[in-house]
Amino acid sequence: MADLLIELFSEEIPARMQARARADLKRVVTDGLVQAGLTYASAGAFSTPRRLTLTVEGLNDHSPTTREERKGPRTDAPEKALEGFLRSTGLTRDQLEARDDKKGQVWFATITKEGRPAADIVAEVLEDAIRNFPWPKSMRWGSGSLRWVRPLHSILCILSDEAGATTVDLTVDGITAGNTTRGHRFMAPDAFTVNNFDDYATKLRRARVMLDAEEREAEIRQQCDNLTFARGWTVVPDDGLLSEVAGLVEWPVALMGVIEDRFLDLPPEVLQTSMKEHQKFFSTRNPKTGRIEGFITVANIETPDDGATILAGNQRVLAARLSDAAFFYENDLREANSGMTAWADGLNSVTFHNKLGSQSDRVARIAALAREIAPLVGADPDQAEQAARLAKLDLRSAMVGEFPELQGTMGRYYALAAGHDAAIAEAARDHYSPLGPSDEVPTAPVSVAVALADKLDTLTGFWAIDEKPTGSKDPFALRRSALGVLRLVLTSSKKVAFSSVLPHPFRRAEADRFINSFEDAPLILGSGISKPLLHSIESWNAEEPLSSFVRMEDENVPHNDRERVVAQMRADVLAGQPEKVRDLLSFLHDRLKVYLRDQGIRHDIIDAVLAQDGNDDLVQVVNRATALNAMLTTTDGQNLTQGLKRASNILTQAEEKDGVEYSYGADVKFAETDQERDLFTALDTAEPAIKAAMMSEDFPAAMAAIAALRTPIDAFFEAVQVNTDSQIVRRNRLNLLSRIREAGRQVADFTRIEG
């Protein structure tokens, strides 16, 4: 048994790549060792900015010798066949053995593969790993052709056991593996030898390198806590920043500074973002004022002046950065106070998509849609429309130009500065949400209206220009938008009938697409048709008088031109629209399935619900699916499903055979058995109960009502033969089954339920 230690020592590895690289090194090397026949007890990978390290413990000294027996041609087969067999096994004829088989004598070959020393295998596997390492981006340097993330300087590769360490014999593009490494770039730059992993980690620590990123993170956290504790402050937690910073230092030394008073009026998000993005500083908060008043920078060195020079330098850099931010903020506030009209104009010149027009076209569409959605989610339509018009203005602000991640956040500040309602300002901030699956979902009605409108405009827009996601390609993140729609609707539990909502944004998107499809859009608009007018048209029916979508007062435009353009628009804009609405709705359903599957609701259960009417109200779909799911976990529910399916099967077969539909006229007077009569009674009770429950969308009650049919249905099938000789009785029973089927259909399509 031996332990393997590998270190690949290079120039600074980007922080964001280190975690993946650790995992890849471990996977690639251990997989290679195992494939070559070695086994090992455990492995661990580490990284610092300058090194990738792998330790593998309990590795065999040799790969095992293997014997493989292979059956060849019969001994009386043609010479050609034997030659082929010898070639493929690499043996000579005298090494073969003739054995009796079922149909005569057959040649057998025994191929022995001698085990190989671990060092040879390690050398091969490591060279292969280095040459084919899956870096997201790699480079060449000097005159060589080797690729690595940054220039690779040395390779440490040793196998060690009780007897000591041996260096693995390996040279990759002129770099020969050895048993030495170096410490911290400045504090301990000299090379030293190592014997095994423990020795390596200990000596590195002495040479001012903490090998383990997790340990560096813990150390940074600890130092931050100590620094802030002394002052009675707290660190604003930021795990992403923490792991990035841990990837930038080998020996973390946290230093805390105070933000100058003149910057403390900046919004905390601005302070935090500027410090994080530009300087990789942590923010610290003064709990007495609730403000961010300080910063922590993590240096990579201990200095004779205890970091005084470093801190002073960082402080100066921060002051320059925050002066810029303050300058932007003041200018932006001035624009906000004067009504933000310059920003609104500016959105005209920002292209959203060349087929869908500018950002201001998009804002116009979103505003109209937000107004339509508002009543459905309990928002005031005027407020929703106004919020939508304001929501994207901050894209033109200097601050968002500098820090795109502050979009929305700044929108709120500027909307407030411009004197708008808090609800409108918050919608400006929250209308991008939710972005990810775990992102917080807005619940304030105006925010929900604008957030929904924003996402539905994205979806209908890209559907209108046929840019739907395909396979793994989703360049416009439409799946994310769809998930956002679902979460908004479900979280606020609002009834939004998408099949009646979607045609409106579609028509506007199609109209914009139509306009932008002309090289010379003004020509079309010159015919007297304005964009807002196009958007506002309620219906594109051919019966609609021309005057409803053309400004008739524009006498310069010949009447014929108008008619021609309008006819063209009608044809173009309306074509395929119902199909696209259906398609988008089914895309939403697909996302809903994924979403509900993650919540533990089976695919077939959702399908059973989606097959029903009313499936465009997603809240209702989810409530039905949840109730159905709950019922199906009970014995009653499972047996009921069987009974319903059985009823449906018998009925379908009979209907096919007889060529008629059995759907009406079951009469209790033709019932021959108590079980039949009981079922009639049960249905008489259940049917109105189900109907009432469905009407009031009380799905658990509907499920309870239908579940009550389980016992009578089971008893009925137990006692009764449906297909009897008496045609009257048979027809009556089939009609009775049809009542069962109908009762089921009220709730879900049970035939889709599996098992």
Binding site: E11, E12, P14, A15, R16, P49, K137, M139, R140, W141, G142, S143, V149, R150, P151, H153, F186, L248, V249, Q279, K280, F281, T297, A299, N300, I301, T303, P304, D305, G307, T309, I310, A312, G313, N314, R316, V317, L318, A320, S323, D324, S349, V350, T351, N354
Partner: protein
């Protein structure tokens, strides 16, 4: 930062860098005599990064970025500034150490400061060039760009050049402890005629900012762009042998026109007359010129072609 080893003026920092890189074997060149956006555009970098021949050069390059003009008011932004550029091919294995030596030479001791190499990939769409490297941070400030060129003009760099770019004003302001660029001593403050950066450049920053943003004749600039583009294409397409039968491909004269086109594009951009969609098209046109020049350079002696 008051020890006797500390430089006292902007020019002293430049002189120390010149001396340092000269002792490390670089040919100390003079600035290229054309308007460029960055030191990389100097043919000593762009063209010499191509081909197999070894190369080592260092130089100051005055650079112009018309959109960065702030009438001399912003403490850190200028439309005309200086870059210090070092290019060594093939990149030596100790390039990082050499670089750190240059920081020591200008008074930044890495044992007292926090010097870090932070990922930053470099790409120049107009040059059809990219490389991997870092921005070098000193106490949280970016003091240099450090790049291993992978491609220039669409050609793989073999061998790879190592390129160092120092933003001289920002670096010097940090070393000298100055808050506003215009307050920075240009020559020794104890000279008989002490001159600040502002004494030399405040007025020109104002003049050029006005011209760049408001006055430049865009019709004329568009025409000059077309002229440069046409002349570049003509030079690239000219017969390789002259009337005396000598083979003289004219890679450098052609490249001058590409540089011109690039700067004219920057001026037009500053005047705000290039829309977002047109932007890409203009960048593509300049890139096509750069690429043509790179192709031609590779057929020349300096480009490593064997006759």
């Amino acid at each position: 930062m008051t020890s006797p080893n500390q430089p006292r003026s902007f020019q002293e920092i430049i002189l120390r860098l010149q001396t340092y890189w000269a002792t490390k074997g670089c040919a100390v060149l003079q600035p290229y005599d054309m308007e460029v956006g960055a030191g990389t555009f100097h043919p000593a970098t762009t063209l010499r990064a191509l081909g197999s021949k070894s190369w080592a050069a260092a130089y100051v390059q005055p650079s112009r970025r018309p959109t960065d003009g702030r009438y001399g008011e912003n403490p850190n932004r200028l439309q005309h500034y200086y870059q210090y550029q070092v290019i060594i091919k093939p990149s030596p294995p100790d390039l990082q150490e050499l670089y750190l030596g240059s920081l020591r030479a200008i008074g930044l001791d890495p044992m007292v400061h926090d010097v870090r190499f932070v990922e930053d990939d470099w790409e120049s769409p107009t040059l059809g060039a990219w490389g991997l490297g870092w921005e070098v941070w000193c106490d949280g400030m970016e003091v240099s760009q450090f790049t291993y060129f992978q491609q220039v003009g669409g050609h793989d760099c073999k061998p790879v050049s190592g390129e160092l770019t120092y933003g001289l004003e920002r670096l010097a302001m940090y070393v000298l402890g100055v808050e506003h660029v215009m307050d920075m001593p240009f020559n020794d403050p104890d000279s008989p005629t002490p001159l600040s950066y502002g004494d030399i450049f405040r007025q020109t920053e104002q003049e050029y900012s006005r011209w760049n943003f408001d006055q430049a004749d865009t019709e004329m600039l568009f025409q000059h762009f077309k002229d440069a583009e046409a002349e570049c294409a003509r030079i690239l397409g000219a017969a390789e042998t002259d009337s005396a039968g000598r083979r003289i491909p004219m890679a450098h004269p052609a490249y001058d026109q590409a540089i011109k086109a690039s700067h004219l594009f920057n001026l037009l951009d500053a005047r705000g007359v290039i829309s977002v969609t047109e932007r890409q098209a203009y960048i593509g046109r300049v890139r096509a010129l750069s690429k043509g020049c790179a192709d031609l350079f590779l057929t020349t002696d300096a480009g490593g072609a064997t006759a």
